[in-house]
């Protein structure tokens, strides 16, 4: 528990990805089995602790602490688990510090009625940061800014292998992952896993750059639409059915409509969309379905999920990743004709005679559901990772809008001394005749070079009109050409619109702020 608590505390404050990886790798190296495996499980997927709820924890604290003091403290700290962890009266005679594995086994065995005395006993034996780690662990939600993918990446780094090698077997393993650690440390063979419905790492593409384009043998490539959805893998074998995100997270729970519709055998690669009878809706509607543990019937009805297939990895029991794309495409079409799966269709291959056709196709859109083109070599096998050459993505040019810088906020980590997060606005009438005001339309923190960042930082400091903690309001004088992929209506923003993936395209040092764009220009770009 000590090592796990120390890790959780440092992760909570660590802004950089590399720093987080280093902390986790260090933990995996230094901590014995089975504790590190439970730590890994907690970081990656969470550890399910039936019977422990926030109410139990509050109740334990109330038995020990004056209620008025607790109320003042909770008001100050603002988080229940943290308040309890900090306020818990410490005893001079410490009870023993439990191991992480004991906590997990103990609570699982104790069930609903036995949990309270056990947690109380442990709290007496721990320091404040250990108490907080314990309470966060058992109530679910460490909130330390670590994704499952990042935890697995750190694990892979300890053995100097690619994270995809871990992904490949991850869903066939169970915590505390002793077999996985034994393999990574060279003490045992790669764990043999149940091959049914595990995640196969995806093949990814590179952006098509001008230099590459000029030397590309375009006749060897096949073209498809690049759909504006979420890349997923559908796996169904031997009665097991799962839906994975591109990083291997099991998202089956959020998409019962897809999972229940699977009555086939195979592993497919495709795009998750919201669509009604094959007519694709905006990304905005798909977003309503993402990042949810459970979905309501209403959401299922209003935002039905759909998968547009473009590749096949396993055809029934046969692993076809070693075949070339053209052969796989034929197998995909035959597979589709055989199973006719509900809520799925095929992403078409596009006919073209040369670059002119492709240029024209790339400019086309379909209700905002297409981001551009994918170009894939007909003879490419399906390789995990991002090999250079076989697959390219060629996105439609971004939308742009000239906006005025309004607020700047300090960044994190390496950028903590720089004003690097920029909120910008567009003009709109402010209600009085002929007057205009700026309304914030988005926020971006990249798209500029380090040198430009230094210039922007200097500009912000010299043009500050007001400070609010780490945020500075600046004179509305600097224009950014903001690039973004799309724009949608939003009730959460004052402007009523939300940009997708905004970044600073160019800094227009030359352009007067009055000539920046108006909100109505942005509204006209909405496609819904």
């Amino acid at each position: 528990m000590k090592a796990f608590a120390a890790l959780i505390e440092r992760l909570a404050f660590m802004p950089s990805r590399n720093g987080k990886l280093r902390l986790m790798a260090d933990y995996f190296r230094q901590t014995p089995d089975p504790d590190r495996g439970w730590g890994l499980a907690a970081l990656a997927d969470g550890v399910d602790m039936p019977g422990v709820k926030a109410g139990l924890i509050r109740g334990l604290a109330m038995d020990r602490v004056d209620p008025a003091l607790f109320a003042w403290s909770y008001d100050y700290v603002g988080d229940l688990a943290e308040t309890v962890a900090l306020i818990w009266p410490e005893r001079v005679e410490k009870a023993e510090t439990p191991r992480l594995s004991r906590v997990v086994h103990g609570l699982r065995a104790a069930g609903r009625s036995g949990a309270a005395p056990l947690v109380e006993h442990w709290l007496d034996g721990l320091t404040a940061s250990e108490r907080l780690a314990l309470l966060k662990l058992i109530t679910g939600g460490l909130r330390v800014g670590v994704s499952a993918r990042l935890a697995k990446t750190a694990l892979a780094q300890t053995a100097d292998i690619a994270v995809d090698e871990v992904e490949e077997i991850w869903h066939g393993l169970e915590p505390p992952y002793s077999d996985l650690f034994a393999w990574l440390e060279g003490r045992a063979e790669k764990p043999a896993i149940d091959e049914r419905a595990v995640f196969r790492p995806l093949m990814l593409s590179h952006p098509l750059e001008q230099a590459v384009r000029e030397s590309l043998d375009i006749d060897a490539y096949r073209a498809e639409w690049k759909w504006d959805g979420i890349r997923v893998q559908v796996a169904a074998r031997g009665g097991k059915r799962r839906l994975f995100s591109r990083t291997g997270e099991d998202i089956s729970g959020a998409f019962p409509d897809i999972v229940e519709a699977k009555d086939f055998e195979g592993v497919l690669d495709g795009e998750l969309l919201v669509a009604t009878d094959g007519r694709v809706e905006s990304f905005n509607r798909l977003q309503q379905r993402l990042n949810r543990k459970r979905v309501t019937q209403r959401m299922l009805a209003e935002h039905p999920a759909w998968i547009r297939l473009y590749d096949i990895l396993h055809d029934g029991e046969a692993d076809v990743r070693g075949l070339d794309l053209d052969t796989r495409r034929a197998r995909l079409e035959a597979w589709y004709a055989r199973w006719r799966p509900a809520r799925m269709d095929l992403s078409p291959q596009l006919a073209f005679a040369g670059w002119d056709d492709l240029e024209r196709l790339r400019g086309e859109t379909e209700g905002g559901a297409i981001e551009g083109l994918m170009l894939k070599r007909g003879d490419s096998t399906y390789v995990a990772g991002r090999p250079k050459g076989p697959w390219f993505k060629w996105k439609r040019g971004p939308l742009t809008l000239d906006c005025v810088l309004m607020y700047a906020q300090r960044g994190h980590g390496k950028r903590s001394s720089f004003y690097s997060d920029f909120t910008f606005g567009a003009w709109r009438p402010d209600g009085e005749a002929g007057r205009e005001e700026l309304v914030p339309v988005g926020k971006a923190y990249f798209g500029f070079t380090d040198q430009e960042l230094a210039q922007l930082d200097k500009w912000v400091r010299a043009h500050t009109v007001e400070r609010f903690g780490p945020v500075r309001a600046v004179k509305p004088e600097l224009v950014f050409e903001v690039a973004f992929d799309s724009v949608a209506r939003s009730t959460r923003h004052k402007s009523g619109v939300a940009m997708r993936f905004p970044r600073i395209g160019r800094i227009r040092w030359d352009k007067p702020a009055v000539e920046a764009d108006r909100l109505e220009t942005l509204e006209a770009m909405i496609r819904d």
Binding site: R22, A68, W72, S73, L86, A128
Partner: protein, 338 residues
Amino acid sequence: MTAKHPESWVELRPQGVYVRPADAYVDPVRPVECALVTHGHGDHARPGNHAVLATAETLAIMRARYGEQAGRQLTAASYGARVMVGEVEVSFHPAGHVLGSAQIALAYGGSRIVFSGDYKRVPDPTCRPFEPVPCDVFVTEATFGLPVFRHPDPMAEIGKLLKSVALFPERAHVIGAYGLGKCQRLIALLRQAGYDRPVFLHGALIGLTELYRELGVDLGPIRPATAAAKKEMAGEIVLAPPSAIADRWARRLPDPVVAMASGWMRVRQRARQRGVELPLVISDHADWDELNRTVLDVDAPEVWVTHGREEALIHAIEAGGRRGRALSLVGFEEDAVE
């Protein structure tokens, strides 16, 4: 004769706490004729007073900070010695807060009031430990006057720092620390932990650190942070004022791990607001348990609570059968120097 309750001879004025029979103020916030000063922090020791009575160390600190403005007539008080100021018998007692810090005990008309100033109870290698002085009225700070504030063992916090230095040898560790007290205590704690490399200091921290050395506090090798090239600072520990750690000054350091040594670091949201990557809970103020223990140790029937979170501490004091009362002092920041 019944004793004169301090209520009848101590009053609040715009300049601060006025002790009428001494015609003197304790830690005045505006210039006065006669000031009794508990310690050298800027919210307690201010420039421009005429006569100042304080410990020799506090006077040295005030001279270093304010020069001529420290006061026209500076009188050093020894710990434990009794001197008369007007009709009041005044004595200074160690407070354990920073070098030279004192509680000021005032006896008059058969009763005694103790102004503790800022204090802590854990051992600090850079100053004399707090000594409880029995009294009728005890005046206490309440900077950390909530039960969520319980400072951990400072050596364990130093251990966290040293572990991080080992884990990130290519980065510098820059620790935000107040220039008087916290800075020197951190260096002393590092030495206790066996750290013998030079400790690098922001320019604003050098003067007082030198003064500590002159006053006999051994701190080992100290270097200005500006003395070495950027890449040579990899793996080193740098102390700087809190305002400098995440600002332009820190850009001279290689990918700095921003740390902060303060009792406020105990609460995550507070630490996050400061943009801190490595919070170190090291405080020069009494935590909740120390505040309550001290009230028991001095055994005063009445406690006045000054700057900080008064209501919770008063609630606890009254639950213990004593009289508690808020003494709202103007000019003390809510988040006292820490």
